[in-house]
C-alpha cells in the first residue's frame, strides 16, 4: 500500500503548485484530480480484493471500508475539480469571483481533497480526527468564497458547529484512549484502530458506551445527521457548486466513516445491540427531519442539502439494521448517493449560473433554455429519491428487505425509510418539475457549460446500469465492506 501516501501527496503538491502557477491553477487542479482518481481506484479495487493491509509502520491501514471511501472521494473530487474549471471561469466572467482569488480557490480545494483522502487511510484514530478537523478548516474558507453576507454567515456557523462537534468527538476519542491504555498498556499503538479492534472485548464497557455516544454526536455533526445537521443546508446552499459537490459527496462520507469505525469498536466491546440501535434511531430521525424541509423549500441547493441529510440517515439506518444484506446495501447506497448527488449539484450549478439565482420561485422552463442540465436535474431527482430502475432504489430495497427480515426495531426503521422516501419524493419532484418544465418567467442566458454531457450523463448512466446489474469488482467490494462492518468477534 505504498500508493497511499502518494494519494495524499499529489493533492498537496497540486495545492502548492496552484498558488504559484496562478493562471494555470485550473489545469493543475484538474490534472491532479485525474491522477488521484486513477490512484484512488487502484487502491480501492486493490483493497476490495485482498484483506486489510498495514503500511508505513502501522500509520496507514487500508481495508475494504476505507477502500470504498477512497473510491467515493476519488470519484467525487474528480467530478468537483473538473466541473470547477468551467464553473469558476463562468463565475469570474460574471464577476462573482475576482481573478486574483482563483488560485486560492484551487489551493483550498486541493488541500481539502488531500485531507479527505487522509481520513480513510490513517490507522491512528487521533490522526484521523485531526484529518477530519482539517477537512472542516480547509472547506470553511471555500464556503465563504463568494464574499456575500449569506456565505460568510454559512461559513461561520459551519466552522463553529463543526469545531464544537468535533471537540466532543475528541473527548470521546480521549475516553477510548484511556480505556485502551488500561487494556493494552502505554504504547503509541494504543490508538491504532486495528489493534483496538482486535482487543475490543478487553475494553471497559461503561466507558465505551459514553465514548461511542460522544463520538456519534461529534462525528455525526460532521456527517450531517439530525439534529446536528443545522449547518449543512446553509453551507451547501451558499458554497460554490463544486464545493457543494465535494461537501455532499465526499466530506459527509468521511465523517460517517469515522462513526462506522467507532461503531465497530463499540460492537467489539458491547455487542451489536447498543450501537446498532443508536445508529438506527439517529438514522430514522435524520430521514424524518429531512421531510418537512424538503416539502416547504425555497432554494434549489438547500433542497439538495436536505436530501443529503436524509441519505446519510438512510446509510446510518442500514448499518443500524445490520446483517450482510443491509451492510452490502449500505455500502452500495453510499456510492449511489455520492454519484447521484454530484450529478444533481452539477445540474443545479449550471442552472444557477444560467438563471443567476437559485430561488425556486424564479426558476422555470429550464428544459427549453438548458435542456441537458434540466433533464439531468429531473433524472437525478428520480434517482436520488429511490425510484426504480435507478441504483438508489436497489440499495434502498435491499435495506428495506433486511429491515423487514430483521428485529422489530429494524422493521420500524424500514417502514420509516419507505414512508420518508415517498414523502421526500413528492416534495422534491414538485419543486424540480416546476424548475424543469413550463414556460420561464426568468430571463436565463446561455451559461457556457462545455462537455456538460459527461458530467451529467456518465454518472446517471452508471446509476441506471447499476440499478439492475453490478460489475463483479464492485459486487465483491461491497461484500468485502459488508464483511468488515458485519464481523462480530
Amino acid at each position: 500500500m505504498t500508493l497511499a501516501p502518494v494519494l495524499i501527496g499529489v493533492p498537496l503538491m497540486a495545492a502548492l503548485l496552484c498558488v504559484f502557477l496562478g493562471r494555470r491553477a485550473a489545469a493543475v487542479s484538474a490534472a491532479a484530480s485525474v491522477v488521484t482518481l486513477a490512484i484512488g481506484s487502484v487502491i480501492a479495487f486493490g483493497s476490495f480484493a485482498v484483506p486489510a493491509e498495514r503500511a508505513l509502520g502501522g500509520l496507514v491501514y487500508v481495508d475494504a471500508l476505507s477502500g470504498l471511501i477512497v473510491l467515493i472521494v476519488a470519484l467525487v473530487s474528480a467530478i468537483a475539480a473538473l466541473y470547477a474549471v468551467a464553473y469558476v471561469r463562468n463565475a469570474v466572467a460574471t464577476g462573482e469571483i475576482a481573478p486574483a482569488q482563483v488560485r486560492w480557490f484551487y489551493f483550498w480545494l486541493q488541500l481539502s481533497i488531500a485531507a479527505m483522502f487522509a481520513v480513510p487511510l490513517l490507522n491512528n484514530l487521533g490522526l484521523m480526527w485531526v484529518a477530519v478537523e482539517m477537512t472542516t478548516l480547509t472547506t470553511a474558507l471555500l464556503v465563504a468564497f463568494f464574499r456575500r453576507g449569506h456565505a460568510l454567515e454559512a461559513a461561520w456557523k459551519y466552522l463553529m458547529i463543526g469545531a464544537v462537534g468535533l471537540a466532543f468527538g475528541l473527548f470521546g476519542l480521549l475516553l477510548t484512549y484511556y480505556a485502551a491504555s488500561h487494556a493494552l498498556g502505554e504504547a503509541a499503538s494504543a490508538l491504532a484502530w486495528d489493534e483496538l479492534r482486535a482487543h475490543a472485548s478487553a475494553l471497559d464497557p461503561s466507558l465505551m458506551r459514553v465514548a461511542f455516544a460522544l463520538v456519534l454526536v461529534g462525528f455525526g455533526t460532521k456527517a450531517g445527521l439530525a439534529p446536528m445537521h443545522t449547518w449543512l443546508p446553509d453551507a451547501h446552499g451558499q458554497a460554490p457548486t463544486p464545493v457543494s459537490v465535494l461537501l455532499s459527496g465526499a466530506l459527509l462520507n468521511c465523517a460517517l466513516y469515522g462513526v462506522l469505525r467507532f461503531h465497530l469498536l463499540a460492537t467489539g466491546t458491547l455487542g451489536v445491540q447498543f450501537s446498532s440501535d443508536l445508529l438506527l434511531g439517529i438514522g430514522a430521525l435524520s430521514i424524518l427531519v429531512a421531510v418537512p424541509f424538503v416539502l416547504v423549500q425555497h432554494d434549489l441547493k438547500r433542497l439538495l442539502a436536505y436530501s443529503s441529510v436524509e441519505h446519510m440517515g438512510i446509510v446510518a439506518l442500514a448499518v443500524g439494521i445490520g446483517g450482510p444484506l443491509a451492510l452490502f446495501a449500505a455500502a452500495f447506497h453510499m456510492l449511489n448517493h455520492a454519484l447521484a448527488k454530484s450529478t444533481l449539484f452539477v445540474a443545479a450549478g449550471a442552472l444557477g449560473q444560467g438563471y443567476g439565482t437559485l430561488r425556486l420561485a424564479r426558476l422555470h422552463g429550464a428544459i427549453e433554455v438548458a435542456p441537458l442540465p434540466a433533464l439531468g436535474l429531473v433524472l437525478g431527482t428520480l434517482a436520488i429519491t429511490g425510484t426504480p430502475p435507478f441504483a438508489p432504489f436497489t440499495s434502498e430495497f435491499g435495506i428495506a428487505q433486511a429491515g423487514f427480515l430483521g428485529r422489530p426495531s429494524a422493521l420500524v426503521g424500514a417502514v420509516v425509510l419507505l414512508a420518508g422516501t415517498v414523502l421526500v419524493f413528492g416534495g422534491m419532484l414538485f419543486h424540480v418539475l416546476r424548475v424543469a418544465v413550463g414556460t420561464g418567467p426568468g430571463r436565463p442566458h446561455k451559461a457556457a457549460f462545455p462537455f456538460a454531457a459527461s458530467f451529467i450523463g456518465l454518472p446517471l448512466a452508471a446509476l441506471l446500469v447499476m440499478g439492475v446489474w453490478l460489475p463483479p469488482a464492485l459486487r465483491n467490494g461491497f461484500a468485502a465492506v459488508a464483511g468488515v462492518l458485519g464481523v462480530a468477534p
Binding site: A213, W231, F332, P388, A391, F397, L405, T421, G438, T439
Partner: protein, 602 residues
C-alpha cells in the same frame, strides 16, 4: 436467470397462462395505437424521442407481466410509470399538465411503496423474492399477516387500476396525454393493476376470509357507480372517457371480488365463472376504450377542441370516425350483440350464482346488491354514451371549428376500424374466446373442482350472441320491407320543427342540459354547484345576458387529498421554524443531542 445487484437476488422470468393473456392484450392494443400514433402524431407537439419512449413503455408493461420475482416486477412496474409520466408531460407548457403529471407520479410512487411493503412481508414469510416460492409457501403465512399483505397489495394495485378512493390521478392524467398514449394507458396500463391484484389474491396468498372478496366487491361497486356518474357530469370528452375507465375497472373488480369471495367459500364453479367474466372484460375494455380514446383524439385533431359544448354535426363531416365511435359507444354501454354485453352478462351471472350458493344471508346479499349497482351502472353508461355520441356527432355543429372539421387520415381510421371490428368479433365469438381464456388461466388459480370457464352458467341461462346477432337484422329488415307491401311512400325533406322559427345550433340540447335530470336525481352523491350571473341592461330591469356556470364538487380531491396535503404542508411549515438561523439555537440542539445520547449510554 440473471444475477441481481443485491446478494441473494436473482432476476427470473415466469410466463404462465395469465401473463400470456395479458401480454396478448398489451401487444395487440399497443400495435394498433402505434399505427394510430404515426397518423395522429402530426397534429400534436411531441418531443424528440417520444416514439422511443412509447416502445419502452410497451416493453416495460411486458416486463411487468412476465416478471418472475419481486425485484424485476418492481423495476418494470416503476419504469412503466416513469415512461408514461414523461409521455403525459408532452405538452408541459400548460400548468394543468404539469400538475396532472405530478399527481400521477406521486400517487403511483406511493402505490409502489405499498406494493414494496406487501412484497417484503411476503418475502418475510417465504424467505425469498421469487414468485414461485411465494406460491409454494402461500398456505404457510398466518391469517393476520396475510390480511395485512392483502390490504397493502389492494391499495398498491388499486391505485394503479384507478379504484375509487385512489382514482384521482386518472381523470387528470389521461386527458392531457396525447391520444395514443392515453389510449394505451387507459386500455392496457390500468389493467396491470388488475393483473397484480389477481396474482396477489390467487397466486401468492392462500384463500383468505370472505371479507377480502366483500371489500373488493364494495370498492368495485363504488368505482362503477361513481365512475359513470362523474363521467356523466363531464363535458370534456377525454375526461369523460377517463372516468369511464374508473367505471369499467369497477366492473372488472366486481368479477375479481366475486371470484375471491367464491374462493373463500370454496365454490369452485363460481371462481371459474367470475374469473372468466373479469378477464374477458379486461380484453373487451382494452378494445373499446382504446377505440374511444382514438376517436376522441381524431375529434381533437380535426376540430381542435375536446369540449362537447363546441362539437356537433360531425357525423356528416367525419362519417368513418362517427361509425367506429358509435360501435365503441354501443360496446361500452353493454348493448347486445357486442362484446361489452357478453362480459357484463358473465359478471351478472357470477354475482347471481354467488348470491345463491353463499350460505349465510349477509354474504349472499352483498353480491346481489353489487348486481343492482352493476345494473344502475349499465343504464347510466347508456345515458352517458348517448350524450357523448349524440352531442358530439349528431345535429348541427355548435362552433365554427366543428363546422370546418374534416375527416382524419387513413392512418388513424384503419386502427379505429380494426378495433371496431374486433369489438363485434369478440362479441360474436364470445363462447370460444372465454373457453380459450379458461385454458390460459393456470390451474393453480382455480380450486381443484372448478370446471373450465364456459359461457353456460352452471344453473341455466344461456347466451348465444350469434343467434341474437342473426335475429336482429332479420326482424329489422322485416320491419322495413313488410310495410312496402302497402305500396310505395315518398320522403320529403324539410326544416326541423322549432315552434315556427328557423332552427339554430343554440336550440340543440347541450351536454350539460342532457345530463341535468340525472344530475338532479343524484345530487346528494354528485353535489352540483351552480352559479347564475344575470346582467341587466344599464339602469333598466331588462336582462342583457345570463351567465350559467355549473360544476360538481370534487369530493375526493377536496376532502381527502387536499385536506391531507394541506395538513402535511402546515406541519412542515411549523417544523421549518426550527431552522431559525441563530447559531446559539443550533448549539443548543447539539448539546441536547449529546445529553440524550449520554442518558441512553448510561
Amino acid at each position: 436467470m440473471l444475477p441481481g445487484p443485491l446478494p441473494g437476488l436473482v432476476l427470473t422470468w415466469q410466463i404462465d397462462g395469465l401473463s400470456a393473456f395479458f401480454a396478448l392484450v398489451i401487444l395487440s392494443i399497443s400495435a394498433v395505437t402505434g399505427i394510430y400514433a404515426l397518423g395522429n402524431g402530426r397534429h400534436h407537439a411531441s418531443f424528440p424521442g417520444s416514439g422511443g419512449l412509447y416502445l419502452l413503455f410497451v416493453f416495460a408493461m411486458l416486463g411487468v407481466v412476465v416478471a418472475g420475482d419481486a425485484f424485476t416486477f418492481l423495476i418494470a412496474w416503476e419504469t412503466m410509470s416513469l415512461v408514461s409520466f414523461a409521455l403525459v408531460l408532452t405538452e408541459h407548457r400548460r400548468e394543468e399538465v404539469r400538475r396532472a403529471a405530478w399527481v400521477y407520479l406521486v400517487m403511483t410512487h406511493t402505490a409502489t411503496a405499498f406494493i414494496v411493503s406487501a412484497f417484503l412481508l411476503l418475502a418475510r414469510g417465504s424467505g425469498s423474492l421469487v414468485f414461485a416460492e411465494w406460491t409454494a409457501h402461500a398456505s404457510a403465512s398466518d391469517a393476520g399477516i396475510a390480511s395485512v399483505i392483502f390490504v397493502l397489495g389492494l391499495v398498491g394495485f388499486g391505485t394503479k387500476a384507478g379504484m375509487i378512493p385512489l382514482h384521482i390521478w386518472l381523470p387528470q392524467a389521461h386527458p392531457v396525454a396525447p391520444a395514443h398514449v392515453s389510449a394505451l394507458m387507459s386500455g392496457v396500463m390500468i389493467k396491470l393493476g388488475i393483473y397484480g391484484l389477481l396474482r396477489l389474491s390467487f397466486d401468492w396468498l392462500a384463500p383468505g376470509p370472505a371479507w377480502w372478496g366483500a371489500l373488493i366487491l364494495g370498492l368495485g361497486a363504488a368505482s362503477a357507480v361513481l365512475g359513470v356518474l362523474y363521467a356523466l357530469m363531464e363535458h370534456d370528452l377525454k375526461r369523460l372517457l377517463a372516468y369511464h375507465s374508473v367505471e369499467n375497472i369497477g366492473i372488472i373488480l366486481l368479477g375479481v371480488g366475486a371470484a375471491v369471495m367464491a374462493r373463500a367459500l370454496g365454490l369452485g364453479a363460481i371462481v371459474a365463472l367470475a374469473l372468466s367474466a373479469a378477464l374477458f372484460h379486461v380484453a373487451n375494455h382494452a378494445t373499446f376504450k382504446a377505440l374511444l380514446f382514438m376517436g376522441a383524439g381524431a375529434i381533437d385533431s380535426a376540430v381542435g377542441t375536446r369540449d362537447l359544448e363546441r362539437l356537433g354535426g360531425l357525423v356528416r363531416r367525419m362519417p368513418f370516425t362517427a361509425l367506429s365511435f358509435l360501435v365503441g359507444s354501443a360496446a361500452i354501454s353493454a348493448l347486445p350483440p357486442l362484446n361489452g354485453f357478453a362480459s357484463e352478462w358473465l359478471t351478472f351471472q357470477s354475482l347471481l350464482q354467488l348470491g345463491r350458493l353463499a350460505d349465510e344471508p349477509q354474504t349472499a346479499l352483498l353480491p346481489l346488491l353489487a348486481g343492482g349497482a352493476l345494473a344502475l351502472t349499465g343504464a347510466l353508461a347508456v345515458a352517458c354514451f348517448v350524450k357523448a355520441f349524440g352531442v358530439s356527432f349528431l345535429a348541427l355543429p355548435r362552433s365554427t371549428q366543428a363546422a370546418a372539421a374534416r375527416e382524419v387520415g387513413a392512418l388513424e381510421l384503419i386502427p379505429m376500424a380494426t378495433l371496431a371490428l374486433l369489438c363485434i368479433a369478440l362479441g360474436l365469438a364470445a363462447v370460444p374466446v372465454v373457453t380459450a381464456i379458461g385454458s390460459l388461466v393456470p390451474a393453480a388459480m382455480l380450486p381443484h373442482d372448478g370446471p373450465a370457464l364456459g359461457l353456460a352458467a352452471p344453473a341455466g341461462g344461456r347466451l348465444v350472441l350469434p343467434g341474437i346477432a342473426l335475429a336482429l337484422p332479420t326482424f329489422g329488415a322485416l320491419a322495413l320491407l313488410l310495410p312496402r307491401l302497402l305500396g310505395p311512400v315518398r320522403a320529403r325533406v324539410a326544416e326541423t320543427w322549432a315552434c315556427g322559427i328557423a332552427l339554430q345550433p343554440v336550440h340543440e340540447y347541450t351536454a350539460m342540459a342532457f345530463a341535468k335530470p340525472i344530475r338532479l336525481m343524484f345530487r346528494d352523491i354528485v353535489r352540483p354547484v351552480r352559479d347564475i350571473g344575470v346582467v341587466h341592461r344599464s339602469g333598466t330591469r331588462f336582462v342583457a345576458s345570463v351567465h350559467y356556470r355549473s360544476h360538481i364538487a370534487p369530493i375526493f380531491e377536496r376532502y381527502v387529498y387536499e385536506a391531507l396535503t394541506d395538513r402535511l404542508v402546515a406541519m412542515a411549515r411549523v417544523v421549518r421554524t426550527l431552522q431559525n438561523g441563530s447559531l446559539q439555537t443550533y448549539l443548543a440542539y447539539l448539546f441536547a443531542a449529546l445529553l440524550v445520547a449520554l442518558v441512553l449510554a448510561r
